[in-house]
């Protein structure tokens, strides 16, 4: 459904999207994961024909994003990062404007709006002013709006940003339900790790480049199994002992307060390592043990050496420097 090859977009001297290529199949939920400023929104804007690429090409639904912009636009729905509802109008009026813009016939509109509104549980609120809607309701209304004209692909830019965890979960339930009911293809960007796990495949993007692309499970397998975090009375000595007895690399983190070991099967490793440390010549006290399955965040750290949050701090700093230099950078929307 989406086929991108070598997409490039520059803003002044900086390259927001750098040779990005990927393919998204029909009915797939495809995630773009990375820190703010990594080039996610810029990529979406190019695919939706809002932004002209400086290089490369892409097809959406078989239509070229440069030459067949009207056809691309007709066949996609887009949900923006910031809400774009008209607060002075009712939910239904907002929907009707969308139907007018896309030339959805009146009867089809009424039928489809009714069906979609009830799917997301908003049918009783449609006559109310959007100003009275909660954040989650607004997002649901935007999803309904984005689907009114029967798009084959729905683009979602940070669909759950700024929503509380419970609302985020509900939005996801709705999206996945719509996907299976309508055979939609979903292309979304996020910097929430837990959300990325809902995707069929994830492209991890950093500094405008895709640095990994696979299913969440396979990505996590790259990290190399489970993660055991220990706190002991002498972490350095413990690290040395684990290295010599188990032949495993143990990293010190958190300023040396914690010890991290990546192992194939954490559940079996924990009792063994406790025994190893206790039976040392100078017995080591283990004060805390934590076992975690790897997350997509761990993948990001493994690939870039940074957490997503650290990268975002960098991006904010870069944007600030751009502004100071008087240039228009990709800013917060990169």
């Amino acid at each position: 459904m989406i086929h991108a090859e070598g997409l490039v977009r520059r803003f002044g001297a900086s390259t927001a999207v750098d040779e990005v290529s990927f393919e998204v199949g029909e009915g797939e939920v495809f995630g773009f994961l990375g820190p703010n400023g990594a080039g996610k929104t810029t990529t979406i804007n190019m695919l939706c024909t809002l932004l002209r690429p400086d290089g490369g090409s892409a097809k959406v639904n078989g239509f070229d994003i440069r030459r067949e912009r009207a056809q691309v636009r007709r066949s996609i729905g887009l949900i923006f990062q910031d809400q774009t509802l008209d607060e002075r109008l009712t939910g239904m009026q907002n929907l009707r404007f969308h139907a007018m813009l896309y030339g959805v016939p009146r009867d089809t509109f009424r039928e489809r709006a009714g069906e979609l509104l009830s799917m997301v549980g908003l049918e009783s609120k449609a006559g109310e002013n959007v100003r009275q809607y909660s954040g989650g309701m607004r997002r649901r209304l935007e999803i309904v709006r984005g689907l009114l004209h029967h798009p084959r692909v729905l683009f979602l830019d940070e669909p759950t940003i700024g929503l509380d965890p419970q609302t985020r979960r509900r939005i996801w339930e709705h999206l996945l339900e719509l996907r299976s009911a309508k055979g939609l293809t979903l292309f979304m960007t996020t910097h929430y790790m837990d959300e990325a796990e809902h995707c069929d495949r994830i492209a991890v993007i950093d500094n405008g480049r895709i640095i990994a692309l696979d299913t969440p499970d396979k990505l996590k397998a790259m990290v190399g199994g489970d993660i055991v975090t220990l706190e002991t009375s002498d972490n350095e000595a413990a690290a040395g002992r684990i290295r010599s007895l188990h032949g495993m690399e143990a990293r010190l983190t958190d300023g040396g307060r914690k010890l991290v070991v990546e192992v194939e099967d954490g559940g079996r490793f924990v009792p063994v390592v406790l025994e190893t440390l206790r039976s040392a010549a100078v017995p080591l006290d283990v004060t805390d043990v934590a076992l975690s399955r790897p997350t997509v965040e761990d993948v990001f750290i493994k690939l870039t050496g940074r957490t997503i949050r650290e990268s975002e701090a960098d991006a904010v700093e870069r944007a600030r420097m751009h502004r100071r230099a008087g240039r228009r950078g990709p800013g917060a929307h990169g």
Partner: protein, 264 residues
């Protein structure tokens, strides 16, 4: 993008502006505040000092009334067009710009919407006419609405030209301070332009608002003031004013559409 989608798109943008205008009644009432202040406080206070207008035939408030209409139209039209900046970044317009509608159609819809709303806003001022002793026939009211629509179209196109490539609202206060207020003051809204210094007259001649106020004034006063008194307060015939406004409109609209249409 084909013509049918474009007509539909322009209509949607227009309809949304009009619907928003009428769904916000408090704003309509609040927007009468400033004109009331000008007409009754400022105008009432100045009336004595300006007693010689049109050979003593024209009360200052009546002289000023068309200027107040022009002021309402000017501000509403430019505000509406400049709101594009905000709307494109955070609002409804983003949603329009990704629809299968050409940007030229969006620009035309926006100019049409801003013009219509500004005309209505000016039309509301007409309701104050009886309170300052201005009686208007149906024919006059229709001519006035037509002139307001034309002036509004000129100023919305002008506003869109300012806003077309602008990305932030920061420049907006500047526009108000250094453009709109001077345009209002040199338009002849508050004092007659016959007999002002040459440089001021020259500024008035390049100011589109001047032509609107001049035409509105002649239309408002035509029934109640003698021809000679009216001639002493006017610059051009109504027809000449309309022709100049139409020329301004095209001169603003064409580059505004071109700038607005450029894809990022």
């Amino acid at each position: 993008m084909d013509l049918r989608s474009d007509v539909r798109g322009a209509y949607t943008v227009w309809y949304r502006d009009v619907l928003r205008f009428f769904s916000d009644r408090t704003r309509i009432v609040a927007s009468l505040g400033q004109p009331l202040l000008f007409l009754f406080i400022f105008g009432g206070g100045m009336a004595g000092a300006m007693a010689s207008l049109g050979g003593g035939e024209v009360d200052y408030r009546r002289f000023m009334f068309p200027g107040i209409i022009g002021m309402s139209v000017l501000f509403t039209a430019v505000f509406s067009a400049v709101s594009v900046v905000w709307d494109r970044e955070f609002g409804f317009l983003r949603e329009v710009l990704v629809a299968p509608v050409s940007r030229a159609a969006v620009a035309i819809g926006k100019v049409a919407g801003g013009s219509t709303v500004a005309m209505f806003q000016g039309g509301i001022i007409l309701l104050l006419a009886p309170f300052i002793g201005v009686d208007l026939t149906v024919g006059q009211v229709l001519s006035l609405l037509g002139l307001m629509l034309l002036l509004a179209a000129v100023m919305t196109a002008f506003g869109l030209l300012l806003a077309a490539r602008q990305r932030t609202m920061e420049g907006f206060q500047m526009v108000m301070q250094f453009l709109l207020m001077p345009m209002l003051f040199v338009s002849g809204a508050f004092f007659p332009l016959n007999g002002v210094p040459v440089w001021l007259r020259w500024l008035a001649d390049v100011n589109p608002v001047t032509y609107g106020v001049d035409a509105l004034r002649q239309t408002v006063l035509s029934a109640t003031v003698s021809e000679s008194a009216l001639a002493a307060l006017s610059l051009r015939t109504v027809g000449a004013n309309v022709a100049c406004l139409a020329a301004f409109f095209l001169a603003f609209l064409v580059p505004a559409i071109a700038l607005f249409s450029r894809q990022d």
